[in-house]
């Protein structure tokens, strides 16, 4: 995750220590005082979802799927994660709210000292649920909305999904839960982005996460709806401009870009053009400390059947299963040559990445997209939109 508001507008956030090793300089209470040593774990609690979104990386379905970790198994998994020092668990799905033990698991994680956060489509959140989640210790709810009403409902395969999500967001905010937007940018919804931000900001949302499309699950089926490099560059520039416009008028929104570390290089270039060389150097330094694409290092995924993946988007390959072996043992096992090379990827990147001046802060971007596009784990990310003159 790259915080545009932190890098361009110096807005402090709870993740400054974890993300940039900059806790000492931050005015906000910190998730962690030190740079993250263990991964943030995305746990797909279930494959079941009440919606059927066209870009779902987990290929979630409305029916139940076999082999889900039960409540007791889930608690033992959380014990393992706490023992290993995992700082944050993102409860995801499918739709996590279809499970009736979500509040119990959130509370259990919180009791263990893990920060529980939630990724949801928001449509099942009632005022009562929001209050229960808050009381259980939930720290953040990220609600997916992918366009203005008509476009979002088309994405999500259900009429009324937008209105239901906004009601869910309202319930979370009324309960005092920190709540943000998750928005996957594609060719179909890029133009809706400013309108959605305005509408949800009016509702009281102040955190906005913009995801690039990854080619996992059904995301691979709509790769042709991905933005062209030029359009992607425009969309990221729009996020930067919009962040600065809101801040200039006193609305201190937090904005983040997720899933494409070409954005890191672009932000340095953007800062140099609009804010000067000194700011560009500061931005570069933060991003160097951030460490580039996190797959296999700072983020991990445990799916609903217990398979451990290098990221949540990479569901087709599993490093091991937590029913067989502890999460920490799986994650630490660098006898796996793929995991080892993923963690030392800078030495192996090829093509235009090999000599890119931004290799240190990007680390080649998404290895899954490189694999999908080129059949080569260390080929360039096809979503890199940087110009040759910028990377030389």
């Amino acid at each position: 995750m790259i915080s545009v508001s932190k890098l361009l507008c110096e807005l402090d956030a709870e993740g400054d220590g974890l993300r940039y090793d900059a806790a000492a300089d931050s005015s906000k209470p910190q998730i962690s005082r030190e740079k993250q040593r263990r991964p943030v774990v995305v746990w797909n609690l279930t494959k079941q979802c009440n919606l059927y979104c066209s870009h779902c990386y987990a290929a979630a379905d409305t029916g139940t799927a076999p082999g889900e970790l039960g409540t007791a198994e889930g608690k033992r998994l959380l014990d393992d994660l706490a023992d290993y020092g995992v700082p944050v668990v993102l409860f995801s799905g499918g739709e996590p709210l279809v499970r009736d033990d979500l509040v119990e698991l959130v509370g259990y994680a919180d009791d263990l000292g893990i920060r529980p956060v939630l990724s949801t489509n928001g449509t099942l959140i009632t005022p009562e649920t929001a209050a229960e989640l808050r009381d259980a210790g939930l720290r953040y709810a990220g609600v997916s909305v992918d366009g203005l009403p008509e476009r979002n409902d088309e994405f999500r395969g259900a009429d009324g999904a937008f209105d239901a999500a906004v009601r869910g967001i309202g319930a979370c905010l009324d309960a005092g839960l920190k709540t943000g937007l998750r928005y996957t940018i594609t060719e179909r919804n890029a133009d809706d982005l400013p309108g959605v931000v305005e509408l949800l900001h009016d509702e009281g949302v102040d955190r906005f996460c913009f995801y690039h499309l990854d080619y996992g699950g059904r995301g691979a089926d709509i790769a042709d709806a991905d933005l062209s490099p030029g359009a992607k560059r425009d969309a990221v520039r729009r996020v930067c401009d919009l962040t600065r416009e809101y801040h200039d008028r006193g609305a201190e929104i937090e904005t983040l870009l997720v899933g494409n570390y070409a954005d890191a290089a672009y932000l340095v270039e953007y800062a140099r053009r609009h804010l000067g060389e000194a700011v560009a150097e500061r931005v570069y330094d933060y991003l160097r400390r951030n460490g580039g694409d996190p797959a296999g290092e700072r983020v991990a995924d445990v799916d609903y059947q217990g398979n451990v993946h290098p990221t949540q988007f990479w569901q087709g390959y599993s490093l091991g299963n937590v029913r067989d072996r502890s999460f920490g043992d799986i994650w630490d096992d660098e006898s796996n040559p793929l995991l080892r090379r993923l963690r030392h990827r800078s030495e192996h990147l090829n093509g235009r990445c090999a000599d890119c001046r931004y290799r240190e802060i990007c680390r080649g971007g998404s290895r899954l997209r490189a694999l999908s596009a080129h059949g080569d784990l260390f080929a360039p990310d096809p979503q890199c939109y940087l110009r040759e003159a910028e990377i030389a």
């Binding site: 039960g70 033992r76 217990g306 398979n307 029913r323 040559p337 793929l338 784990l377």
Partner: protein, 99 residues
Amino acid sequence: MVENPDRHRVGDHPRDAAGREWEVFVRPDGADPLRHVGSVSAPSVGVAYEQAETLFAWCADDVWLCPADAVERYSTHTLDDDAERVPVGPDGDERPRES
């Protein structure tokens, strides 16, 4: 060497809902032992091999695949609800699982 361990047979849980899961083993060089390197999801062994080759061809002479549901797993660490205790020791005593 683990002596007299608390070992359990992991239950027969599905490992992939959409297709099949295939355990992947690679041998870096002819004299090396086979090494388990995870699993891939694929509808057939042919597709599983293609995926495994894409991921591991650079480091392996041999790639072996086994359907995940054909593997019997006995482990000293499992969080599986359905894990069965197995006899250990010369008298075949069962030892209770730690909670």
